[in-house]
Amino acid sequence: VTVDQERLEDSVTRHPSGLDGEAAARRRLRNRWVAVGAVLAGVVLLTALFAFGLRRDPAALDDVLVGRQAPGFDLPTLAGGGTVNLDDLRGQVVVVNFWASWCVPCRQEHSALDAAWDRYRDRGVVVVGILYNDRPANGMAFVEELGGDWPVVDDPDSATALAYGVYGVPETFFIAPDGRVAHRHIGAVDYELLAERIEPLLREEATAA
């Protein structure tokens, strides 16, 4: 009896308005569940977002230039006497190759570029080598040693390389006849890759003409 009395006294004093106590308690409980649910939903959402972000490779560079107009350049040839201006090459497929004499993969890919240049030079394809972070004399020595007679130019303060978003050599950009960047290749190229990239652009050239 005493327990009942205490409980009754307690409930009445705590909630003088009487039986509302139970409803209020239910409401409080429901509010608590709603709050817990909202917090849980937020946590799950954020976790999902972070998990998605973690799956992306932070070192992977965006090929932002692909599909956009290629940054123009007008650079002096290593051999001296004149410049190569990208605007003058409009209507042709341009393979822009950033390279350096100190770059080992550049040495490896050189024969592939040479072969592609021989195969496509009479079909409206120009290869342009842009020297990156190197002395022109070293670049010239490299070309004399390994051969190849496609235009090679100097990029004195790397302004063109920066405009192309280059972060290392070799990097190769394939520019369509309409002047847009069609592909970007990071690292050494081989002949198959060059042919695979150039051929569709040649067809574009044919349909445009």
Binding site: E9, P16, L49, N133, D157, Y167
Partner: protein, 169 residues
């Protein structure tokens, strides 16, 4: 004759001092002119410190000693001398390297989450804390009611209790 109460004298004195201080401050600002402009090097550093060095692991272009970072700083300097604004320079790097190049993500698109989440969490936490504190205070305020029942409630309670007591076990 106008009556001058001591309070109005005080009010005018305070107003006068405030006006004097404001005038002096304004004069100082006007004669000194705006803050001395940043040097070219400082402006380059400011922009470079917001750009990620492409060949380093999470170093800014300002902090990296790599050749590429050095060239990027030189490029920023050339652009500034050409009269480009910092926004234009950042935009040109984004055009070449992508948004990846920015150390702080721009405040739009999905990136807004990164900026808004901490603020939202802080506000949410403050709200939760405020509710919790109010609930605790409410509970403490309830305590005196146990003894401070109104006369009617006390009578009602006594009646109820007496019926319980009278009930046979």
């Amino acid at each position: 004759m106008t009556r001058t109460s001591p309070t109005s004298v005080w009010r005018w004195a305070v107003l006068g001092i405030v006006a004097l201080v404001a005038a002096v401050a304004l004069a100082v600002v006007l004669t000194r002119g705006p803050e001395s402009p940043l040097t070219m090097q400082e402006r380059v550093h400011q922009i470079a410190s917001g750009l990620r060095c492409p060949v380093c692991q999470n170093l800014s272009v300002a902090d990296s000693s790599s050749t590429l970072a050095h060239q990027m700083r030189a490029q920023i300097g050339r652009d500034l001398r050409e009269g480009k604004s910092p926004e234009e320079i950042r935009a040109s790097f984004v055009a070449s390297y992508g948004e990846w190049i920015l150390l702080a993500p721009p405040r739009r698109g999905i990136n807004v989450v990164a900026w808004a989440a901490p603020v939202a969490l802080l506000l949410g936490g403050a709200a939760a804390a405020a509710i919790a504190v109010r609930r605790w205070n409410g509970r403490r305020l309830e305590a005196p009611r146990v003894t401070g029942l109104s006369v009617d409630d006390r009578r009602l309670l006594d009646r109820e209790l007496s019926t319980v007591r009278d009930e046979p076990e």
